[in-house]
Amino acid sequence: MADIPEDLLRRSAEAKAKALGLPVEQVLAEMKGEAPPTPPEPAKAAPAPEPAKAAPAPEPAASEPVTEPEPVAPEAPAAPAPVAAPATAAADVDVDELLKKAAAAGGLPESLVKRSAEAKAKSLGVPVATILAEMAGEEAPAAAAAPSAAPAPAQSQPAPAPAPAAAAPAAAQEVAAPAAVAVEDKPAAPSSNGGSNGSANGAKAAMVSPRPVAPDANVPEGVRTQRLLTVVKARAIQQVKADPTDKVNTWPHLMIAEFTALLAMTAFVILLSVILQAPLLEQANFNATPNPSKAPWYFLGLQELLSYFDPQIAGVTVPTIIGLVGFMMIPYVDRNPSTKPSDRKFAIMLYTIFLTGSATLTIIGVLFRGEGFNFAYPWRDGIFFDDLKDWVNFE
């Protein structure tokens, strides 16, 4: 109890106090173990519809009854245990019975009726049996639950008890079957399309009712349609993992960086274009083959290879097979999951060889190839690279 934050404790105490009709301070004190639990005021507990005031007490929190002293506890010794037990059993049977009836009356699956009754009972502070009886159309809840509930408040306590107890497994079941689709059986004309849409839903969830549905006497088989209440996805299409990461707002942090890069690049291109004139040689002439004939610089590495190897190898096999298919296959060949440079020495070495290799070949092609694509020293024989014609002839 000690490690529960004060505000949470307070909220819980308030809820409990409201449900029990006790002052908040008292409940809070009880929770903190500062004051002996006080029995609920008899006036509140006595009237027949009210005994359930105590019902919310065995909330899910009932799993640790020791730490959460129930207001009823001090009275418990007074009410002999043997009395409570049969009462519980009786109420259990009654609730089941009523549930069946209520379900039949409404033409709804029991599970839904039960859930709805429980919720209603909780919010109204009435025993579930009462609600169920109402639903079943039996005006007098007394018929089922009253005999034991009416006379003594102490005895009425067990009556609502089965409800939360029964609710627990129901909840557990829902958690265990997350892919379930809750469906509601409704007697309806076959033409009603209210439910059939559900089956058309693309979600992977199965159209199953969590629990068997009691056949409805009033509605002939085949006329029942199903209405989709909710779809609980077993697994999202996308894995939405919300690992805590250090994030910043795109605006302004990323946008400013991008905008700066954009401006810098524009400035650079404009500057380059003012300084360097793009080449325009004489008009194309099929009869005047320049010597040497060079490909665009990004293909010069290939042209260089071409001058070493058989063209069948250098011209096609190298660029298309290794260059394209090979490159596309990199992620599928390199199955090493690590991105740490120290774990990927081999991959980094290969890529660096590729990088330096292609850079070297390109530089040789650009600077060191002269007439007839023969080897030439740029400082001795000049540069044969027309792309930068006006630049290399810059005097």
């Binding site: 910043v248 274009s273 040689l281 069948q312 096609v316 394209l324």
Partner: protein, 256 residues
């Protein structure tokens, strides 16, 4: 107002205020726009700026802090994209002055330097920008490799990237022919000769590329259409997939 003594400055600010709160401007600017009246800088508004912006198609509201660091991506992917935009803009300008025929191509390009305002500058920007884009895309690929950023779940985006590299080279190469000077003609001849070495269908590939056995008048038109329409269209499609996958694969890859 009646006395007509308001200063120009006052009238101006009044006018801009009126404009900013006019229903037309209201309809143009989405809620949260920093250009809207009364915009204030708050975390909520910072999110709104992106959410209510067409850039939301490209950027999420928040990004990993290390991804913003210039030293991580070096902005190379973004610059590749930006160079493509720059090339599109300058390219459209050039299209107004260029006819892809043997008779006109060369003189049209030459005329850019002599009789078109900013013609030379724009042509230079288009040409150097194209070379730069090849380089930047290549560097982008290298940065991705050294970061191991192609590893799961980003394998497929690497494949898309290789296609983008190929398309970038093809765009550049098809543009190379268009000035129809000696450089263009013979560089393309050398390049397509390499394609001619394709085993089995080498001759057919070369024929399809050149619209003939060698570079001809038909080649210009063919490469022009490929250059200004076909490849840009395809590359935009692949870029869309590429950017989309960057986000779907969880944003920029983690730090090393």
């Amino acid at each position: 107002m009646a006395n007509g003594n308001t200063s120009l400055r006052e009238r101006l600010s009044e006018a801009t205020d009126k404009l900013a709160s006019s229903s037309f401007v209201e309809s143009v600017l989405r809620p949260g726009s920093p250009f809207k009246k009364g915009y204030s800088d708050s975390p909520r508004n910072r999110s709104y700026v992106i959410m209510n912006n067409v850039l939301y198609h490209l950027h999420p509201v928040k990004v990993k802090r290390h991804g913003v660091k210039l030293s991580y991506t070096l902005c190379l992917g973004g610059l590749s994209f930006f160079l493509f935009i720059l090339l599109t803009i300058t390219g459209i300008f050039l299209m107004f002055y260029y006819a892809p025929t043997v008779e006109n191509a060369y003189t049209d390009v030459a005329a850019l330097s002599t009789s078109v305002a900013f013609g030379s500058l724009v042509r230079n920007m288009h040409r150097w920008g194209a070379h730069l884009m090849v380089l930047v895309v290549f560097l982008h690929m290298s940065r991705v490799f050294y970061h191991g950023a192609y590893k799961p779940p980003r394998e497929f985006n690497w494949v898309v990237g290789v296609i983008l590299l190929l398309l970038t080279l093809l765009l550049s190469f098809t543009g190379y022919l268009l000035p129809w000077d000696q450089l263009a003609l013979w560089a393309v001849t050398v390049g397509t000769n390499m394609a001619g070495f394709v085993p089995v269908f080498g001759a057919q590939v070369k024929f399809a590329l050149l619209a003939g056995a060698e570079v001809t008048a038909g080649t210009i038109l063919r490469w022009y259409v490929l250059h200004v329409l076909f490849f840009p269209f395809i590359i935009v499609l692949f870029m869309a997939v590429h950017f989309w996958r960057v986000r779907k694969d969880g944003g920029i890859s983690g730090p090393l």
